[in-house]
Amino acid sequence: MKKLKFIGNPLLQSREKINMSSDKKWLTLKTTEDNEEFVVEESVAIMSNVIKNMVEDGCASSVIPVPRVKGNAMGKIIEFCKKHTEESDEKVLKEFDAEFLNLGPDALYDLMVSANFLEIKVLLDSVTTKVADMIKGKSSEEIRNILKIENDLSAEEIEESRRENCWTRQE
Protein backbone atom coordinates (compact mmCIF):
# COMPACT_ATOMS: atom_id res chain seq x y z
CA MET A 1 0.00 0.00 0.00
CA LYS A 2 1.66 3.19 -1.09
CA LYS A 3 1.65 6.02 1.41
CA LEU A 4 2.08 9.46 -0.04
CA LYS A 5 3.33 12.08 2.40
CA PHE A 6 3.11 15.74 1.61
CA ILE A 7 5.37 18.06 3.48
CA GLY A 8 3.95 21.50 3.15
CA ASN A 9 0.61 22.88 2.01
CA PRO A 10 -1.20 20.32 -0.17
CA LEU A 11 -3.18 23.01 -1.99
CA LEU A 12 -0.04 24.88 -2.93
CA GLN A 13 1.43 21.56 -3.89
CA SER A 14 -1.16 20.74 -6.54
CA ARG A 15 -1.18 24.25 -7.97
CA GLU A 16 2.55 24.20 -8.45
CA LYS A 17 2.47 20.88 -10.16
CA ILE A 18 0.66 22.58 -13.03
CA ASN A 19 2.55 25.86 -12.94
CA MET A 20 5.83 25.12 -14.71
CA SER A 21 7.40 28.46 -14.00
CA SER A 22 6.93 28.32 -10.25
CA ASP A 23 10.00 29.28 -8.30
CA LYS A 24 9.67 26.42 -5.85
CA LYS A 25 10.69 22.97 -7.03
CA TRP A 26 9.42 19.80 -5.49
CA LEU A 27 11.00 16.37 -5.40
CA THR A 28 9.63 12.96 -4.52
CA LEU A 29 11.85 10.74 -2.42
CA LYS A 30 11.00 7.07 -2.10
CA THR A 31 12.56 4.82 0.50
CA THR A 32 13.11 1.56 -1.34
CA GLU A 33 13.14 -0.59 1.80
CA ASP A 34 9.56 0.08 2.76
CA ASN A 35 8.20 1.97 -0.26
CA GLU A 36 7.26 5.17 1.51
CA GLU A 37 7.14 8.31 -0.59
CA PHE A 38 7.91 11.83 0.58
CA VAL A 39 7.32 15.01 -1.38
CA VAL A 40 9.69 17.75 -0.33
CA GLU A 41 10.91 21.10 -1.57
CA GLU A 42 14.11 20.83 -3.53
CA SER A 43 15.75 23.42 -1.28
CA VAL A 44 15.14 21.12 1.69
CA ALA A 45 16.15 17.91 -0.09
CA ILE A 46 19.46 19.27 -1.30
CA MET A 47 20.69 19.55 2.27
CA SER A 48 21.67 16.00 1.43
CA ASN A 49 24.79 16.09 -0.70
CA VAL A 50 23.80 12.85 -2.36
CA ILE A 51 20.46 14.23 -3.51
CA LYS A 52 22.07 17.54 -4.43
CA ASN A 53 24.47 15.76 -6.78
CA MET A 54 21.64 13.82 -8.36
CA VAL A 55 19.67 16.99 -8.97
CA GLU A 56 22.68 18.77 -10.45
CA ASP A 57 23.41 15.81 -12.69
CA GLY A 58 19.87 15.95 -13.95
CA CYS A 59 18.76 12.50 -12.79
CA ALA A 60 16.08 13.73 -10.44
CA SER A 61 13.19 13.97 -12.85
CA SER A 62 10.55 11.75 -11.34
CA VAL A 63 10.97 9.79 -8.17
CA ILE A 64 14.32 9.55 -6.39
CA PRO A 65 14.85 6.12 -4.88
CA VAL A 66 16.58 6.18 -1.49
CA PRO A 67 17.97 2.84 -0.40
CA ARG A 68 19.07 1.86 3.11
CA VAL A 69 16.97 4.49 4.86
CA LYS A 70 13.72 3.46 6.45
CA GLY A 71 10.52 5.46 6.20
CA ASN A 72 10.37 6.67 9.78
CA ALA A 73 14.03 7.76 9.72
CA MET A 74 13.41 9.56 6.43
CA GLY A 75 10.47 11.40 7.92
CA LYS A 76 12.60 12.57 10.84
CA ILE A 77 15.41 13.62 8.55
CA ILE A 78 13.09 15.68 6.41
CA GLU A 79 11.67 17.33 9.52
CA PHE A 80 15.21 18.26 10.55
CA CYS A 81 16.22 19.57 7.13
CA LYS A 82 13.04 21.57 6.79
CA LYS A 83 13.59 23.31 10.13
CA HIS A 84 17.19 24.05 9.24
CA THR A 85 16.33 25.58 5.89
CA GLU A 86 13.52 27.70 7.29
CA GLU A 87 15.14 28.92 10.46
CA SER A 88 18.33 30.95 10.64
CA ASP A 89 18.35 31.89 14.32
CA GLU A 90 21.14 29.87 15.99
CA LYS A 91 19.43 29.80 19.35
CA VAL A 92 16.14 28.52 18.00
CA LEU A 93 17.93 25.82 16.00
CA LYS A 94 19.89 24.72 19.06
CA GLU A 95 16.72 24.30 21.07
CA PHE A 96 15.10 22.45 18.21
CA ASP A 97 18.04 20.07 17.88
CA ALA A 98 18.09 19.31 21.61
CA GLU A 99 14.40 18.40 21.54
CA PHE A 100 14.69 16.58 18.22
CA LEU A 101 17.58 14.39 19.35
CA ASN A 102 15.94 13.34 22.57
CA LEU A 103 15.83 9.76 21.36
CA GLY A 104 17.00 6.35 22.44
CA PRO A 105 20.30 4.96 21.19
CA ASP A 106 18.70 2.78 18.50
CA ALA A 107 16.94 5.71 16.90
CA LEU A 108 20.11 7.78 17.18
CA TYR A 109 22.20 5.12 15.43
CA ASP A 110 19.59 4.93 12.73
CA LEU A 111 19.74 8.68 12.21
CA MET A 112 23.52 8.67 12.28
CA VAL A 113 23.88 5.98 9.64
CA SER A 114 21.19 7.52 7.44
CA ALA A 115 22.64 11.03 7.73
CA ASN A 116 26.03 9.62 6.85
CA PHE A 117 24.66 7.78 3.83
CA LEU A 118 22.73 10.81 2.60
CA GLU A 119 25.70 13.06 3.40
CA ILE A 120 23.84 15.60 5.53
CA LYS A 121 26.72 17.12 7.45
CA VAL A 122 24.71 19.29 9.84
CA LEU A 123 22.58 16.40 11.01
CA LEU A 124 25.53 14.03 11.27
CA ASP A 125 27.46 16.54 13.37
CA SER A 126 24.50 17.07 15.67
CA VAL A 127 23.90 13.37 16.26
CA THR A 128 27.61 12.67 16.75
CA THR A 129 27.84 15.43 19.34
CA LYS A 130 24.76 14.08 21.08
CA VAL A 131 26.17 10.55 21.33
CA ALA A 132 29.52 11.94 22.55
CA ASP A 133 27.69 13.92 25.24
CA MET A 134 25.91 10.78 26.32
CA ILE A 135 29.25 9.06 26.85
CA LYS A 136 31.26 11.87 28.43
CA GLY A 137 31.85 11.58 32.11
CA LYS A 138 30.17 8.21 32.50
CA SER A 139 31.66 5.05 33.91
CA SER A 140 32.09 2.08 31.60
CA GLU A 141 29.12 0.28 33.17
CA GLU A 142 26.89 3.30 32.61
CA ILE A 143 28.10 3.62 29.03
CA ARG A 144 27.22 0.01 28.36
CA ASN A 145 23.73 0.57 29.70
CA ILE A 146 23.13 3.78 27.78
CA LEU A 147 24.41 2.50 24.45
CA LYS A 148 23.12 -1.01 24.96
CA ILE A 149 26.48 -2.66 24.41
CA GLU A 150 27.34 -6.14 25.52
CA ASN A 151 30.48 -6.66 27.48
CA ASP A 152 32.83 -9.02 25.65
CA LEU A 153 35.92 -8.34 27.71
CA SER A 154 37.13 -11.02 30.07
CA ALA A 155 37.43 -10.29 33.77
CA GLU A 156 41.23 -10.16 33.48
CA GLU A 157 41.12 -7.70 30.60
CA ILE A 158 38.82 -5.39 32.52
CA GLU A 159 40.99 -5.60 35.62
CA GLU A 160 44.12 -4.80 33.60
CA SER A 161 42.48 -1.79 31.96
CA ARG A 162 41.24 -0.57 35.30
CA ARG A 163 44.69 -0.87 36.85
CA GLU A 164 46.19 0.97 33.90
CA ASN A 165 43.65 3.74 34.19
CA CYS A 166 44.37 4.23 37.88
CA TRP A 167 48.02 4.43 37.19
CA THR A 168 47.82 6.85 34.30
CA ARG A 169 45.40 9.11 36.08
CA GLN A 170 47.43 9.25 39.26
CA GLU A 171 49.36 12.42 39.97
Binding site: E33, K70, T128, A132, S139, S140, I149, E150, L153, E171
Partner: protein
Protein backbone atom coordinates in the same frame (compact mmCIF):
# COMPACT_ATOMS: atom_id res chain seq x y z
CA UNK B 1 26.50 -4.51 7.18
CA UNK B 2 24.46 -4.79 4.04
CA UNK B 3 21.79 -7.15 5.40
CA UNK B 4 18.33 -5.93 4.56
CA UNK B 5 16.75 -4.83 7.78
CA UNK B 6 13.25 -5.80 8.68
CA UNK B 7 11.40 -2.55 9.18
CA UNK B 8 11.37 -2.63 12.94
CA UNK B 9 14.73 -4.22 13.77
CA UNK B 10 16.91 -1.66 15.53
CA UNK B 11 20.48 -0.99 14.48
CA UNK B 12 23.09 -1.99 16.96
CA UNK B 13 26.36 -0.24 17.68
CA UNK B 14 28.21 -3.03 15.89
CA UNK B 15 26.74 -2.00 12.56
CA UNK B 16 28.05 1.55 12.79
CA UNK B 17 31.11 2.05 10.61
CA UNK B 18 34.41 2.58 12.43
CA UNK B 19 34.91 6.01 10.84
CA UNK B 20 31.76 7.28 12.52
CA UNK B 21 32.76 5.87 15.88
CA UNK B 22 36.09 7.64 15.48
CA UNK B 23 34.30 10.92 14.89
CA UNK B 24 32.45 10.43 18.17
CA UNK B 25 35.67 9.63 20.02
CA UNK B 26 37.25 12.82 18.77
CA UNK B 27 34.66 14.81 20.68
CA UNK B 28 35.39 13.15 23.99
CA UNK B 29 38.19 14.32 26.29
CA UNK B 30 41.05 11.87 26.82
CA UNK B 31 40.29 11.33 30.50
CA UNK B 32 36.83 10.03 29.63
CA UNK B 33 38.27 7.83 26.91
CA UNK B 34 40.07 5.84 29.56
CA UNK B 35 36.68 4.60 30.72
CA UNK B 36 35.67 3.75 27.22
CA UNK B 37 38.49 1.26 27.03
CA UNK B 38 36.69 -0.91 29.58
CA UNK B 39 33.41 -1.00 27.71
CA UNK B 40 34.07 -3.66 25.11
CA UNK B 41 36.75 -5.01 22.80
CA UNK B 42 36.07 -2.85 19.79
CA UNK B 43 35.98 0.37 21.81
CA UNK B 44 39.18 -0.68 23.51
CA UNK B 45 41.11 -1.05 20.28
CA UNK B 46 39.50 2.04 18.80
CA UNK B 47 40.51 4.19 21.75
CA UNK B 48 44.06 2.92 21.72
CA UNK B 49 44.63 3.91 18.14
CA UNK B 50 42.54 6.96 17.35
CA UNK B 51 42.70 9.99 19.54
CA UNK B 52 42.33 13.72 19.18
CA UNK B 53 44.62 16.03 17.28
CA UNK B 54 46.03 18.82 19.39
CA UNK B 55 48.46 21.68 19.27
CA UNK B 56 50.81 21.80 22.19
CA UNK B 57 52.61 24.97 23.18
CA UNK B 58 56.01 24.27 24.61
CA UNK B 59 57.56 26.87 26.86
CA UNK B 60 61.12 27.72 25.94
CA UNK B 61 62.62 27.24 29.36
CA UNK B 62 61.99 25.11 32.36
CA UNK B 63 61.21 28.19 34.42
CA UNK B 64 58.36 28.97 32.11
CA UNK B 65 57.37 25.34 32.34
CA UNK B 66 57.24 25.53 36.12
CA UNK B 67 55.35 28.83 36.08
CA UNK B 68 52.89 28.39 33.27
CA UNK B 69 52.90 24.75 32.36
CA UNK B 70 52.06 23.78 28.84
CA UNK B 71 48.98 24.76 26.92
CA UNK B 72 46.98 22.80 24.41
CA UNK B 73 44.42 23.82 21.86
CA UNK B 74 42.28 21.77 19.49
CA UNK B 75 42.73 22.72 15.84
CA UNK B 76 39.69 20.79 14.69
CA UNK B 77 37.43 22.49 17.19
CA UNK B 78 38.27 25.83 15.61
CA UNK B 79 40.95 26.66 18.18
CA UNK B 80 38.31 27.67 20.66
CA UNK B 81 39.56 27.41 24.19
CA UNK B 82 43.10 27.02 25.45
CA UNK B 83 43.51 24.31 28.04
CA UNK B 84 46.33 24.60 30.51
CA UNK B 85 48.34 21.52 31.31
CA UNK B 86 50.63 21.71 34.28
CA UNK B 87 53.05 18.81 34.48
CA UNK B 88 54.28 17.58 37.80
CA UNK B 89 57.75 19.06 38.12
CA UNK B 90 58.83 16.30 40.47
CA UNK B 91 59.47 14.44 37.24
CA UNK B 92 62.43 16.64 36.49
CA UNK B 93 63.80 17.15 39.99
CA UNK B 94 66.90 15.13 39.46
CA UNK B 95 67.82 16.97 36.28
CA UNK B 96 66.40 20.37 37.03
CA UNK B 97 69.61 22.19 36.29
CA UNK B 98 70.47 20.65 32.98
CA UNK B 99 67.04 19.72 31.60
CA UNK B 100 66.03 21.30 28.30
CA UNK B 101 62.85 20.85 26.37
CA UNK B 102 63.83 19.31 23.10
CA UNK B 103 60.53 18.98 21.35
CA UNK B 104 57.57 16.82 20.71
CA UNK B 105 57.34 13.46 19.05
CA UNK B 106 53.95 12.17 18.04
CA UNK B 107 52.07 12.57 21.26
CA UNK B 108 55.10 12.51 23.51
CA UNK B 109 57.24 15.40 24.66
CA UNK B 110 60.93 14.85 24.53
CA UNK B 111 63.31 16.42 27.02
CA UNK B 112 67.07 16.40 27.06
CA UNK B 113 68.00 15.73 30.64
CA UNK B 114 71.75 15.75 30.31
CA UNK B 115 74.46 14.90 27.77
CA UNK B 116 73.32 11.40 27.35
CA UNK B 117 69.81 10.98 28.63
CA UNK B 118 66.37 11.68 27.35
CA UNK B 119 63.11 11.97 29.15
CA UNK B 120 59.77 11.23 27.56
CA UNK B 121 56.49 12.63 28.78
CA UNK B 122 53.00 11.78 27.58
CA UNK B 123 50.78 14.82 28.28
CA UNK B 124 47.60 12.82 27.71
CA UNK B 125 48.20 10.19 30.34
CA UNK B 126 50.70 12.24 32.38
CA UNK B 127 53.28 9.48 32.33
CA UNK B 128 56.99 10.24 32.47
CA UNK B 129 59.96 8.04 31.72
CA UNK B 130 63.69 8.54 31.85
CA UNK B 131 65.40 6.62 29.09
CA UNK B 132 68.58 4.70 29.75
CA UNK B 133 71.91 6.09 28.57
CA UNK B 134 72.83 5.56 24.97
CA UNK B 135 76.49 4.95 25.65
CA UNK B 136 77.29 7.42 22.92
CA UNK B 137 77.19 10.94 24.33
CA UNK B 138 76.99 13.42 21.54
CA UNK B 139 79.96 15.34 20.28
CA UNK B 140 78.31 17.17 17.48
CA UNK B 141 74.64 17.61 16.80
CA UNK B 142 72.12 15.10 18.01
CA UNK B 143 68.88 14.53 16.23
CA UNK B 144 65.87 12.60 17.28
CA UNK B 145 62.80 11.19 15.71
CA UNK B 146 59.88 9.40 17.24
CA UNK B 147 57.91 6.72 15.53
CA UNK B 148 54.27 6.13 16.11
CA UNK B 149 52.98 3.48 18.42
CA UNK B 150 52.77 0.37 16.28
CA UNK B 151 49.89 -1.86 17.28
CA UNK B 152 51.34 -4.87 15.46
CA UNK B 153 54.31 -5.01 17.75
CA UNK B 154 52.55 -3.18 20.60
CA UNK B 155 55.50 -0.89 21.00
CA UNK B 156 56.95 2.50 20.11
CA UNK B 157 60.35 3.40 18.69
CA UNK B 158 62.64 6.34 19.18
CA UNK B 159 65.53 7.03 16.85
CA UNK B 160 68.64 8.95 17.72
CA UNK B 161 70.97 10.12 15.02
CA UNK B 162 74.18 11.68 16.23
CA UNK B 163 76.49 13.32 13.76
CA UNK B 164 79.79 12.57 15.29
CA UNK B 165 83.18 13.90 14.37
CA UNK B 166 84.75 10.73 15.68
CA UNK B 167 84.82 7.35 14.00
CA UNK B 168 84.33 4.24 16.10
CA UNK B 169 88.03 3.78 16.64
CA UNK B 170 88.34 7.28 17.99
CA UNK B 171 89.83 8.79 14.88
CA UNK B 172 88.85 12.36 14.18
CA UNK B 173 87.34 13.04 10.80
CA UNK B 174 87.06 16.42 9.19
CA UNK B 175 85.08 15.90 6.08
CA UNK B 176 83.09 12.71 6.31
CA UNK B 177 80.85 12.93 9.34
CA UNK B 178 79.42 9.55 10.09
CA UNK B 179 75.90 9.72 11.38
CA UNK B 180 75.38 7.08 14.00
CA UNK B 181 71.89 5.73 14.30
CA UNK B 182 70.48 4.13 17.37
CA UNK B 183 67.00 2.78 17.95
CA UNK B 184 65.19 2.59 21.25
CA UNK B 185 62.14 0.43 21.74
CA UNK B 186 59.86 0.62 24.74
CA UNK B 187 59.81 -3.11 25.31
CA UNK B 188 63.54 -3.68 25.16
CA UNK B 189 64.15 -0.51 27.16
CA UNK B 190 67.55 -0.14 25.55
CA UNK B 191 69.33 1.50 22.64
CA UNK B 192 70.52 -0.56 19.73
CA UNK B 193 73.07 0.58 17.16
CA UNK B 194 72.22 0.23 13.53
CA UNK B 195 73.98 1.32 10.37
CA UNK B 196 75.98 4.49 10.10
CA UNK B 197 75.71 6.83 7.18
CA UNK B 198 78.90 8.49 6.24
CA UNK B 199 78.38 11.61 4.23
CA UNK B 200 80.21 14.70 3.32
CA UNK B 201 79.83 17.76 5.44
CA UNK B 202 76.22 17.82 6.27
CA UNK B 203 73.83 19.41 8.63
CA UNK B 204 70.75 17.62 9.79
CA UNK B 205 67.69 19.44 10.93
CA UNK B 206 67.15 18.70 14.58
CA UNK B 207 63.67 17.28 14.62
CA UNK B 208 62.44 14.46 12.46
CA UNK B 209 58.87 14.28 11.29
CA UNK B 210 56.94 11.08 11.13
CA UNK B 211 54.56 10.00 8.40
CA UNK B 212 53.19 6.56 7.64
CA UNK B 213 55.84 4.46 9.29
CA UNK B 214 58.88 6.49 8.23
CA UNK B 215 60.86 9.28 9.78
CA UNK B 216 62.15 12.17 7.73
CA UNK B 217 64.91 14.69 8.40
CA UNK B 218 65.92 17.59 6.23
CA UNK B 219 69.58 17.55 5.47
CA UNK B 220 71.92 19.97 3.82
CA UNK B 221 74.92 18.63 2.01
CA UNK B 222 77.84 20.86 1.27
CA UNK B 223 80.35 19.70 -1.29
CA UNK B 224 83.62 21.12 -2.38
CA UNK B 225 84.49 20.19 -5.89
CA UNK B 226 87.91 19.95 -7.45
CA UNK B 227 87.91 23.61 -8.30
CA UNK B 228 87.15 24.39 -4.67
CA UNK B 229 83.68 25.62 -5.50
CA UNK B 230 81.23 25.19 -2.68
CA UNK B 231 77.78 23.92 -3.49
CA UNK B 232 74.90 23.02 -1.29
CA UNK B 233 71.85 20.92 -1.79
CA UNK B 234 68.98 19.75 0.33
CA UNK B 235 68.00 16.14 0.67
CA UNK B 236 65.54 14.25 2.75
CA UNK B 237 66.84 11.48 4.90
CA UNK B 238 64.19 8.77 5.21
CA UNK B 239 64.24 6.18 7.91
CA UNK B 240 61.85 3.28 7.56
CA UNK B 241 60.82 2.23 11.04
CA UNK B 242 59.82 -1.27 10.08
CA UNK B 243 62.98 -2.46 8.37
CA UNK B 244 65.21 0.22 9.94
CA UNK B 245 66.80 1.16 6.66
CA UNK B 246 67.98 4.63 5.76
CA UNK B 247 67.83 6.20 2.34
CA UNK B 248 68.27 9.66 0.92
CA UNK B 249 65.97 11.40 -1.49
CA UNK B 250 67.02 14.54 -3.23
CA UNK B 251 64.60 17.43 -3.41
CA UNK B 252 63.81 18.89 -6.81
CA UNK B 253 64.57 22.51 -7.73
CA UNK B 254 65.99 23.54 -4.47
CA UNK B 255 67.81 26.69 -5.52
CA UNK B 256 65.44 28.74 -3.45
CA UNK B 257 65.63 26.54 -0.39
CA UNK B 258 68.11 27.20 2.36
CA UNK B 259 68.19 24.92 5.37
CA UNK B 260 68.23 27.85 7.77
CA UNK B 261 64.90 29.06 6.46
CA UNK B 262 63.26 25.76 5.74
CA UNK B 263 61.64 23.17 7.85
CA UNK B 264 60.08 19.79 7.21
CA UNK B 265 56.59 19.29 8.42
CA UNK B 266 53.60 17.05 8.05
CA UNK B 267 50.65 19.17 7.12
CA UNK B 268 47.34 18.08 5.71
CA UNK B 269 48.56 14.49 5.91
CA UNK B 270 51.47 15.07 3.50
CA UNK B 271 55.15 15.67 3.91
CA UNK B 272 55.95 19.33 3.22
CA UNK B 273 58.80 21.73 3.17
CA UNK B 274 57.87 25.02 4.80
CA UNK B 275 60.03 27.91 3.74
CA UNK B 276 60.04 31.31 5.33
CA UNK B 277 60.30 34.09 2.84
CA UNK B 278 60.13 37.86 3.01
CA UNK B 279 56.38 38.34 3.16
CA UNK B 280 54.92 34.91 3.22
CA UNK B 281 55.39 31.34 4.22
CA UNK B 282 55.25 28.73 1.51
CA UNK B 283 54.19 25.19 2.20
CA UNK B 284 55.31 22.85 -0.54
CA UNK B 285 53.87 19.37 -0.43
CA UNK B 286 56.02 16.52 -1.59
CA UNK B 287 55.00 13.58 -3.71
CA UNK B 288 57.11 10.49 -3.41
CA UNK B 289 56.81 8.34 -6.47
CA UNK B 290 60.07 7.19 -7.89
CA UNK B 291 61.63 10.51 -7.09
CA UNK B 292 60.46 13.38 -4.99
CA UNK B 293 58.46 16.05 -6.75
CA UNK B 294 56.43 19.01 -5.61
CA UNK B 295 52.71 18.66 -5.68
CA UNK B 296 50.59 21.32 -4.03
CA UNK B 297 51.98 24.69 -2.91
CA UNK B 298 50.13 26.72 -0.32
CA UNK B 299 51.23 30.23 0.41
CA UNK B 300 50.12 32.21 3.44
CA UNK B 301 50.90 35.88 3.91
CA UNK B 302 52.47 36.77 7.21
CA UNK B 303 50.31 39.13 9.22
CA UNK B 304 51.57 42.72 9.09
CA UNK B 305 54.02 43.48 11.81
CA UNK B 306 54.97 39.88 12.33
CA UNK B 307 58.44 38.65 11.54
CA UNK B 308 58.16 34.94 11.87
CA UNK B 309 55.25 32.61 11.24
CA UNK B 310 55.71 28.86 11.58
CA UNK B 311 53.03 26.60 10.11
CA UNK B 312 51.93 24.08 12.67
CA UNK B 313 49.13 22.16 11.07
CA UNK B 314 46.19 22.21 8.72
CA UNK B 315 42.83 21.63 10.33
CA UNK B 316 40.20 19.30 8.93
CA UNK B 317 38.53 22.32 7.40
CA UNK B 318 41.72 23.16 5.50
CA UNK B 319 42.55 26.17 7.63
CA UNK B 320 46.28 26.72 7.84
CA UNK B 321 47.31 27.34 11.44
CA UNK B 322 50.61 29.08 12.15
CA UNK B 323 52.39 30.37 15.19
CA UNK B 324 53.49 33.96 14.64
CA UNK B 325 56.39 35.43 16.60
CA UNK B 326 56.06 32.78 19.26
CA UNK B 327 53.00 34.50 20.66
CA UNK B 328 49.94 34.39 18.44
CA UNK B 329 48.11 31.67 16.67
CA UNK B 330 47.16 32.83 13.22
CA UNK B 331 44.42 30.83 11.54
CA UNK B 332 43.88 31.32 7.83
CA UNK B 333 40.59 30.34 6.23
CA UNK B 334 40.64 27.61 3.62
CA UNK B 335 40.94 30.07 0.72
CA UNK B 336 43.85 31.86 2.36
CA UNK B 337 42.04 35.14 1.98
CA UNK B 338 41.59 36.15 5.56
CA UNK B 339 42.94 35.24 8.94
CA UNK B 340 42.19 35.64 12.61
CA UNK B 341 44.59 35.83 15.53
CA UNK B 342 44.46 34.25 18.95
CA UNK B 343 47.02 35.34 21.54
CA UNK B 344 48.50 32.33 23.29
CA UNK B 345 51.73 33.65 24.73
CA UNK B 346 51.71 35.62 27.96
CA UNK B 347 53.13 39.00 27.10
CA UNK B 348 56.81 38.52 26.38
CA UNK B 349 56.90 34.76 26.71
CA UNK B 350 58.00 32.94 23.63
CA UNK B 351 56.46 29.63 22.84
CA UNK B 352 57.28 26.91 20.43
CA UNK B 353 54.33 24.90 19.22
CA UNK B 354 53.90 21.37 18.05
CA UNK B 355 51.08 19.47 16.51
CA UNK B 356 50.48 16.02 17.88
CA UNK B 357 47.91 13.31 18.13
CA UNK B 358 46.95 12.30 21.64
CA UNK B 359 48.24 8.96 22.61
CA UNK B 360 47.67 6.56 25.46
CA UNK B 361 50.89 4.70 24.74
CA UNK B 362 52.46 3.27 27.86
CA UNK B 363 56.02 4.43 28.30
CA UNK B 364 56.94 1.84 30.90
CA UNK B 365 57.12 1.63 34.67
CA UNK B 366 56.77 5.06 36.17
CA UNK B 367 59.68 6.67 37.94
CA UNK B 368 58.43 7.44 41.44
Amino acid sequence: MEAKNVCNAPLSLQSIPKEMLKEILLLIPVKCLLNLRCVNKSFCSLVNTHLKRQILFLPCSKEQLADNGMRIISPDAGCGSVEKLVPKTSFFNEFIDSAKIYGYCNGLVCLILDMDRLGLWNPSSNEFKILPRTGNPFHGGVFYGMGNYDSHIDDYKLVRAAASRFKDDGELVYIDSPIKFEVFTGRSNSWRRIEDIGTTQCYLQKQAVHLCGSLYWLKQITTLDDAYVLSQCLVILCFDLADEKVREVRLPNEEFLILAWSRLGVLGGRLCVCSYEETDVKIRMIDFNEKASWSKVISVIKPTGSSFAIPICISRKWEVITLADGRDLVIYDSHGNSYRKIAVGDGQNLYNAAFYVESLVRLGPRLS
